[in-house]
Symmetry: C2
Subunit: 195 residues, 2 copies
């Protein structure tokens, strides 16, 4: 945008980071994914486009972080049981998918992934890495308590939880049953627990 002011702050200035992420989530909810540009996000956040590109490779990475990683910086749940922790993680995931920005971003994001094999190749190494880190902390605690064995397949569980919420909330778009997170957490915990 021609009205974009020059960059302020240092590259990893947490204030500009937060301003960029908020601007991206707002713009996607307001004008949709297709009409959201890095230039428009930068203008709304009051930074230059180069500040955005210093931190994110492009629109898919920025929008994904703005919409689907809101809970990544909250403390990892520590309820004392695997089922309780999974339920807390799932509640966060359901809330993310129910947000207007997520509904607005999902079709365009999926189309970008589908059209770009290089982008898709970074899903595990980039997009899903923070969620996997959080799940690994939950798994380590469950292993210490003797609930699960070492080597429980974390990618399988991550895909299953995220896929189920995507399917139930993101695709079918039903008003999710308030018990969804708890029921799914109970099934998955029982499914991977030792005996």
């Amino acid at each position: 945008m021609s009205s974009s002011p020059s960059p302020r702050g240092r590259p990893r200035d947490p204030r500009s980071h937060e301003a960029i992420v908020s601007a991206a989530a707002e713009l996607v909810a307001e004008v949709g994914y297709a009409a959201t540009s890095i230039g428009a996000v930068a203008a709304r956040a009051g930074v230059g486009k180069d500040t955005v590109y210093r931190r994110w490779r492009g629109k898919p990475e920025l929008v994904f972080e703005a919409v689907f990683t809101a809970t990544d910086h909250a403390p990892v749940p520590d309820t004392g049981t695997l089922a309780g922790d999974l339920s807390a993680l799932l509640r966060g995931l359901v809330d993310e998918f129910r947000a207007p920005a997520a509904a607005a971003a999902l079709p365009g994001l999926l189309a970008d992934f589908a059209a770009d094999p290089l982008l898709r190749a970074r899903i595990r190494s980039g997009f899903l890495a923070p969620s996997k880190e959080r799940l690994l902390v939950v798994f380590e605690r469950a292993e210490t308590r003797g609930e699960i064995a070492a080597g429980t397949p974390v990618d399988l569980v991550l895909d299953t939880l995220a896929g189920a919420v995507f399917f139930h909330v993101g695709l079918v778009g039903e008003h999710p049953d308030p018990r969804l997170a708890e029921q799914l957490a109970a099934v998955m915990a029982k499914g991977i627990e030792v005996r």
Copy 2:
């Protein structure tokens, strides 16, 4: 298409039904979802457009059936255990998602669902109904064998299995681990089994 011949056969002629479904799967794989039209499908199948519209409401319904319900007419698996039956259902689902037509159809289908609340409202009642019927047969047998209790939430399990395969194969697009179906079936079966 102007070269479309006039309809042949009766509305539910199984030969024309099969020809239409095959033509839709071929066209989507060849030219993509966006460029696939009911007219082009009808022309390739050698039927009139009205014959297609007599059976399907529109392109999303036709393409979904052509791409994602290939295994619906196979016998419901009956391996003697819940885990075995779920594993067989999941192998079919993985194969469907790995087909070139599925990869070509998925982004466009998801975008159509996202853009049309009326279409989305028919996901459970229409698109997913045949898969649910098959899963219900598997559940009834498992209940008779005492593996699961009456009232096991079939929609939750259906969303979870389909969502996990979508996420793993359809989105991340990884060459799926050959053990995916078996591992996921084992986790889900254990998760919903009595005790």
